[in-house]
Symmetry: C2
Subunit: 329 residues, 2 copies
């Protein structure tokens, strides 16, 4: 067996790789929940640690670049874990021949985003490989945050509601358009943004259960994973899911399901029905959350994720085998 | 200007890149000392954070593999910073087509080394890129440690002694031989090893000033950087530096200076002359430190590093411009 592109999709093959290779050998209990961050004790209190490598193609795209993305992704992973993002390490792998001005643009963008998000880049490393052994630049960022509140899908209960913080599928659509010359004129750009100022206030909402930024694999994969971890089901209402007309149009044209498209500035939030209005109010008071809405509910009637379609049908959402859009982050 | 292989050498070009691009934009004071780890406060105490990407070629070599190396390197960076290594994150970038058995061998080796070093792999990420956009596998590891004692080159004083924990240049030589088919029969293998059990006991030695694992750029580069940071000079005695006959022979044959060759299981230690014997005793009581010895001294007579050669001459050691052996770690 060989590594396939799909092993990096965040879908079924990634899951297999994690279970058959990584979890088989690395058996730390911290790894098992397969969440975005791990909670570990330091100095008798918990910190959250998260890591991501960024290999997105192209490096520059409408709404962002690999540098901005590499800070946002890690800030967001800490945030949805209920931690205040504090420190970030940066590891560059550079390809021989990369113009230094490009690297500087990327670094500038990272510094700007880190400042905006209130995190410090505290340590770094640079490696250079020969032409044809990289694709310009790959970036790893690892983040450390101070845990305010540990969140777990297991705290969820039937009747909880599922909120999405805004329009779905923008990042995936923007990257797909930036990559292929479809000759489509569009305003769609990546939603890439640090979400800590939007989401951290939710930690004060008692009924908050769980949050996740639906990146690789999109809202569908995120909720399938939530369902597996919580052992509860999710009922989604297609008509309630905010998708831009352009995103819907382009998705249909190129055969993607926007529910599986990556987002880099959105959150899926599970909250008790009692506190749903309060959570929405907090989200809507922030520019990044003004389009937040309830898109579904948690149920014990079934496991997995079922989509109630606009015409009233029901469709079960499954993990994808294939990668609709590789190297999306 | 474009990125060159030398920008990843750890020498002069790397320095330029760091100063002109990274430090220009990332201006956290934690980055400035250019040490192996950064000290940052978490929960009112200090932790150390360090990151490294591993792109070594070949992936498997006598004495180790990229997996073992990726754990040792990060464990050692925390250790020489006076911190107890606790947690490690792992980010894989995989090339499409990599045999899964190879990946599993690497992961197994990482898990074994982590266990040996007493650190936990707590979070991970995997990306896959197309054939020709990687070289099999690149690994980023980022480590978090609890700081026992902050070490700084600035605490050093004239008269301090410089110790090396064992034979120099083994890793660089082993990689160089594994890479090129020189048709040399040799026993030299990489010294790749986690050094926490060897070095952490030194933190109890009052006169301990500073430690560093002389990886990329070797003992020479490490001490040049020490000299720059401490604003003191280092006098090294060639005849005291432990170099295996085979390493010396092969280095001369292929034109490398063993003092610039990477080590992955050695430490350079600066300690007060008063406590030097105690430090040596601690080192020699450990299998990885049995060949430890004093190789030089700190002086205020000059800045930089001067090597007193075996025949009594004096040679100033400079940062290398070119990379004698790229992708060594």
């Amino acid at each position: 067996m060989k590594v396939e592109i799909g092993h990096g999709s965040g879908g079924k093959l990634t899951r297999e790789l994690i279970e058959k290779v990584f979890l088989k050998h690395f058996n730390a209990p911290e790894l098992k929940p397969l969440q975005d961050s791990s909670y570990v004790p330091v100095n008798h209190k918990k910190i959250a640690i998260t890591t991501d490598s960024y290999v997105i193609r192209p490096r520059f795209f409408p709404g962002g670049d690999i540098g901005k993305l590499s800070i946002c992704g890690t800030v967001n992973d800490l945030t949805v874990s209920g931690a205040v993002p504090k420190y970030i390490s940066v590891g560059f792998i550079l390809e021989e021949g990369l113009p230094l001005e490009e690297l500087e643009k990327i670094v500038e963008s990272m510094a700007k985003t880190a400042k905006e998000a209130g995190v410090k880049v505290v340590t770094g490393d640079t490696k250079v490989v020969e032409k044809g052994r990289c694709d310009g630049v790959y970036i790893n960022t690892t983040g450390v945050g101070e845990v305010v509140r540990e969140l777990s899908p297991l705290s969820s209960e039937p009747g909880d509601v599922v909120i999405v913080s805004g329009y779905v599928g923008d990042h995936g659509t923007a990257i797909s358009l930036a990559r292929e010359a479809f000759e489509i004129e569009t305003q769609v750009k990546s939603d890439c943004a640090p979400l800590n100022s939007l989401l951290l206030p939710l930690l004060e909402v008692e009924g908050l259960r769980w949050m996740r930024d639906p990146t690789r694999g999109g809202v569908a994969t995120t909720l399938i994973e939530f369902s597996e971890s919580s052992e509860l089901g999710v009922r989604l209402y297609e008509e309630k899911i905010p998708i831009r007309e352009e995103v819907q149009f382009i998705s249909e044209m190129i055969g993607y399901d926007p529910l599986y498209l990556a987002n880099e500035g959105k959150a899926v939030i599970v909250v008790s029905s009692k506190d749903a209005e309060r959570a929405l109010e907090i989200l809507k008071s922030h520019p990044l959350g003004k389009d937040a809405r309830i898109i579904g509910e948690v149920t014990e009637d079934f496991k997995g994720v079922r989509l109630i379609t606009k015409i009233g049908g029901e469709r079960r959402l499954e993990l994808l085998e294939e990668d609709p859009l590789p190297r999306i982050c």
